[in-house]
Symmetry: C2
Subunit: 384 residues, 2 copies
């Protein structure tokens, strides 16, 4: 184990019905002029919007400005609109209701309000936020763990760069996690969510440079198995509330900082290679990851032979690293998440250019152990 | 999974050398007039005291009042002395350097300073703290997880009652966790610490009433295996810093609230039965627990047959619940933690009276599924 700091002050209120019971009180505890951030119309169709508004009213909150239209792979231009609206209305608290995209954009707005420059500066590493508006989140899609971490990822719609950053000011104050809200998540996004959560687990597991990490290894293996079991149950029966609950909390725990605490220096090679895919081709992040992960694992077979063998054994009960990779890929196929560039609609001839973007992102993130040729090689293997 | 709230705002700074690097800054960030709480002379002998004082000085903190003499199974009368000293010196931050006893007593002082009544009221459930002084902790013994939870346990030296309570005001602000400080923990206390940490894991695992808890089950099983492995390594070589590090963080994670989040209603039967043992006979809490746990597990074989079988399989790779219990007991014996009342120096003829105390504590904690006869039966089986 290596040295680390862990500090996660987000309060989680988890359970069926919590959106109605707890949202208003949590927001009222943080402010009185609310910016309500959400995506498209789905939260209106499935009743979540009404529950949120009722809960706000019951807590005496009527000064609510709505800012909707956040899209999957949220973009900078929309974030800037949000900053302008938040400033104009002089809101003092932000409530984000939606998936990782909505929460991430809301974080960018929360920090952007106090910043005179372009909020992209945070994402490009040119500046760091010194403060942010308090943020309450009601996640509707378990995947990114944005509800209990300090990270945000945004796509620059001019450059198509998909960048992210962490800041201690961006932990949501309260995450109201109501598994019932996730019953309407369609099968494709349920699958992508499972992939996304697993991707968060494996980066530190494989790339961390600490010598002996039994706590973190078992944490990752246990959550990976659980996420696969829960996803399978949900795809069988989308109304399976037990499975929806387990999936929701697993996804949070997969990227709330605990699994990587103590693993030492680590990289994000799968995310480095995937971001250009979803950033350029607007596919779901999880869909991009299921394309990248098996190809990446085969590429690093010689780099992490013992860890890949351990993963195969502990997660799948299999005897070799290769079998473990095959099993993970087979599971991606089973849940119908793409495993080739073609399935993701990504033209193979653009691999060199995608690799350019990945390497550029790697520089920003301090990842130096992949050459352009390495990334091309990984993507070529995903093209087959 | 059941509904839960999870909120743990303690910041952990973990790693070799952190006591010198981080203690002073963490304290200075919270206040300027410091009450330094510690136990006997061991922190002076092993150099920890000097490191702490140097770090405080380097951060410009010279207004430090010392309050030492906290004993294992810390007692109410001493806690009250601490409250008086803290008030007289008008300290605005408390720094606790020591094991669970020191941290727990420091928590009682932190809350007691603001309370006009007897601080025992908190422990007996007659009152709840409304505020507390900020607390920074430097744990020197990994066991109770007091460094990252809101609990405190104190023994009333008049009544010999050993009671505890939780309060959101009692989370340490910062836990400076330096594994090197634990190298001098002797073998007996190393063993008791392992038992204590395991005891925290199993209460929710076995008694929680939620139906499907794969996240929590695997979390517990992974940590239990890890704690046994790390303890074995430490007993082999007390200077094994890797093992000391893993043990330190495992013990924290075993009782920081995460493992029980979502398990539903749960009891603390092992703690209910053990508290009278260490409260009355002044043995180490972990030593009392290794006496109680195997006897309790055999008693609940019919109550939790599947979970005990799962524990045997996942933690020990064994085929039956009975074999699992035997294996755990054998491990307690191997690490030389007592497994009978006689080994703990506890007179068997006092079993009925011990059971009286346990039942009384059970009432306080809302544990209603053990009769006096049940507790006698469990203790009788531990008397053999």
């Amino acid at each position: 184990m290596k040295a680390f700091e862990f500090h996660n002050p987000t309060k989680v209120i988890f359970g069926n019905g919590t959106v109605s019971e707890a949202t208003g009180l949590a927001v009222a505890d943080a402010g009185s002029k609310v910016l309500l951030v959400y995506g498209k119309q789905s939260i209106k169709r499935n009743g979540t919007y009404d529950k949120v508004i009722s809960s706000l009213k019951a807590a005496g909150l009527t000064d609510v400005v709505e800012f909707s239209g956040v899209k999957s792979n949220p973009c900078l231009s929309h974030l800037k609109e949000g900053v302008a609206i938040a400033r104009e209305a002089a809101v003092d608290v932000i409530l984000a209701v939606g998936g990782g995209s909505v929460m991430d954009e809301a974080k960018g707005i929360a920090a952007g309000v106090f910043y005179n420059g372009d909020p992209w500066d945070f994402y490009s590493g040119a500046a760091a936020p010194e403060q942010a508006l308090p943020l309450i989140v009601v996640p509707t899609l378990p995947a990114t763990a944005s509800e209990m971490n300090s990270g945000t990822v945004i796509t620059n719609d001019v450059t198509q760069e998909k960048y992210g950053f962490f800041s201690e000011h961006l932990f949501p104050k309260v995450a109201v996690m109501d598994p019932e809200l996730t019953h309407t998540v369609p099968k494709d996004y349920t699958a992508y969510s499972g992939v996304d959560a697993i991707s968060h687990l494996i980066e530190g597991y494989f790339t961390g440079d600490a010598k002996w990490t039994p706590i973190q290894d078992r944490y990752v293996e246990g959550l990976a198995k659980t996420i696969m079991e829960a996803t399978d149950r949900i795809l069988e029966n989308p109304e399976d509330n037990e499975a929806r609950s387990v999936m929701m909390w697993s996804a949070t725990l997969a990227w709330n900082g605990l699994g990587v605490s103590g693993v030492g220096n680590m990289g994000f090679p799968n995310h480095m290679i995937e971001h250009p895919l979803s950033g350029r081709y607007d596919i779901a992040h999880g869909a991009g990851l299921s394309i990248v992960i098996p190809a990446w694992m085969r590429f690093v077979l010689d780099r992490y032979p013992e860890k890949l063998a351990r993963f195969a054994r502990e997660v799948f009960g299999l005897d070799s690293a290769e079998e473990g990779i095959d099993a993970l890929e087979a599971w991606f196929k089973k849940i119908k998440s793409p495993t080739t560039l073609a399935e993701g609609g990504i033209p193979a001839e653009e691999i060199p250019s995608i690799a350019d973007d990945a390497i550029k992102l790697g520089h920003l993130w301090g990842i130096s152990d992949y050459t352009h040729q390495d990334v091309v090689c990984i993507l070529n293997s995903a093209a087959k």
